[in-house]
Symmetry: C2
Subunit: 244 residues, 2 copies
C-alpha cells in the first residue's frame, strides 16, 4: 500500500458546505495524534496520490477515506508548489511517520468541492472521521500552507460562482427563492435586495418555479424551484454574470 504512493504529488480538497442557518462552512480534519505527542492540529483533507491514478480519482478516494464523502462536485483550482511549503519540522515528521515514505518536496494539486451539508452531519463526521465543519471566517491555523490553499480556494469558488451554476451543488434539488438568495449572499459576502433578486432570477429562464410549496412551516409556505440544466446549457451564452 505505502509503496504505491507517488512521493512527489498530493491532492488537497477545500470542501464547502452550506447550511441555511449557519452559512458557508468548510470541512477540516484533525491530524491524528502520534507517538506521545498530543499536538492535534487541523488540516484540509488530502494525501499523496497513488502512482497511476487520475488526480480527480485521488481527490475522490482521499475524501472518501478521510470523511466518507463521495461522488461530489470537484474542481481543480491550482497547484501549490513552493519548494519550502512543508517547512514545519514537526509536520514533516508526522507526514513521514504517517505515510512511511521519506517525503521531501511535495507538490499539491488543490480542488474545491461542494456538498449539500445536510447529508453529512456534524455528529457522524466527527464520530467516525474526526472531521468538523468550520465557518469560513472562523478557521484557525492549519498545518503547512493549508490556510493559503483555503483562501485561494474560496476566491476561486467565488469567481466561478459568478459565471457557473455552482450553487445547485450546495442546495437540495428543490429549493426556495430565499435559500438561493441566502446562499448567494454567503458566497458573495454581501446582501442582496430580495425584490430585485427575484426579478433577476425569474428573468433568467432556467430556474423553474414548481407548483409545490413548503409544508408544516409556521409562516407563509415558500414555493419550490428547480434548476433546469438543459435550458441553462442552451441559453444564448452572454458575457454576463450568473447571478449578479
Amino acid at each position: 500500500m505505502a509503496l504505491s504512493f507517488n512521493p512527489h504529488i498530493s491532492v488537497d480538497c477545500v470542501v464547502f458546505g452550506f447550511d441555511d442557518t449557519e452559512g458557508l462552512k468548510i470541512l477540516l480534519i484533525n491530524r491524528d495524534e502520534w507517538d506521545n505527542q498530543k499536538t492535534t492540529r487541523l488540516k484540509l483533507p488530502g494525501n499523496l496520490i497513488i502512482m497511476k491514478e487520475h488526480l480527480k480519482q485521488s481527490a475522490n478516494r482521499v475524501l472518501q477515506e478521510l470523511t466518507g464523502i463521495k461522488d461530489i462536485y470537484l474542481k481543480q483550482f491550482g497547484v501549490f508548489d513552493n519548494p519550502g511549503r512543508l517547512m514545519n519540522g514537526d509536520d514533516i515528521a508526522w507526514l513521514r511517520k504517517k505515510t512511511n515514505i521519506y517525503v521531501e518536496r511535495v507538490i499539491t494539486v488543490a480542488f474545491y468541492s461542494l456538498v449539500k451539508l445536510g447529508q453529512y452531519l456534524e455528529t457522524e463526521l466527527s464520530r467516525a472521521y474526526n472531521a468538523t465543519w468550520y465557518k469560513v471566517n472562523e478557521v484557525p491555523g492549519l498545518i503547512f500552507d493549508h490556510n493559503d490553499i483555503l483562501s485561494n480556494g474560496l476566491e476561486a469558488m467565488r469567481k466561478e460562482f459568478l459565471t457557473e451554476p455552482l450553487c445547485f451543488e450546495l442546495l437540495p434539488k428543490k429549493f426556495t427563492m430565499n435559500q438561493l438568495q441566502h446562499l448567494s449572499e454567503a458566497i458573495l459576502g454581501f446582501n442582496l435586495d430580495n425584490r430585485n433578486f427575484r426579478k433577476r432570477i425569474n428573468r433568467l429562464g432556467y430556474i423553474m418555479p414548481l407548483n409545490e410549496h413548503q409544508r408544516g412551516v409556521s409562516h407563509k409556505p415558500a414555493r419550490y424551484y428547480m434548476f433546469d440544466r438543459k435550458k441553462f446549457d442552451n441559453r444564448k451564452k452572454e458575457y454576463t454574470g450568473f447571478i449578479i
Copy 2:
C-alpha cells in the same frame, strides 16, 4: 544535468502573441529530428522541472531555453494528468532519448503567457530556436495532449481577459484605442462597435489619453493611451467585466 530532473512533473506553456495585422498567435516549437527519423512534429514549449524549482521558475527557464523569451507574464491555468497522456510510442521514445530519463507517467502543469509579438520576430525565433508563430485557428496536430492543453489555455485566457487587465501584456506601453479594440476582438472572437467601445473605455477611468499621436502615418494620426495600473487597483471593485 539530466539527473536533477524530476521525472514526474513537467511544465508546458501556451504563449500568446498579438500582432495588429495578423491577430492572435501562438508559439510552437519543432520537436527536433532524432536518430534517422525525420518526423518533425510540433509541440508547446515545455519540459520536465528541476527538482527544487518553483513551477513558475521552471516555466521561465524552459521558455528561455527553448525560445529565448524571458521575463513575461505567466499564469498557471491547469494540470493535465491523464495517466495515458503520453500514449504515442514514438513520442515517448523521443522524450526518453531527449531527457535521458526513463519517463513513465508525467503530470504537466500548464501556464499561459502573453508577449508583445513585435519583440520576438519570426525570423529570429525560427533561426535560433526552431520556433514559429501560428494563428490560433490554424494550429496543426501537436504531440501528446498538447492540442487539448492549448484549447484549455485559450479558454482560460479568454475568461481572465474579461476581468483582469491582461491585454496590456500584449500591447506596447503606448497604444491606440483601435489597437486595444482589435486585440479585444481577436481574443473575444467577435467584433465590437467602435463608438460604443470608446465610450466604455473612456468611462473606465484607468486608461489614460496622452497628448501624443502617431507620426508618419498616411491618415489621421491616432492618439496614444496608457494603462494606469494604480488607478485600476484603486477602483471600487465591482463584479463587472473588464472590457465588456
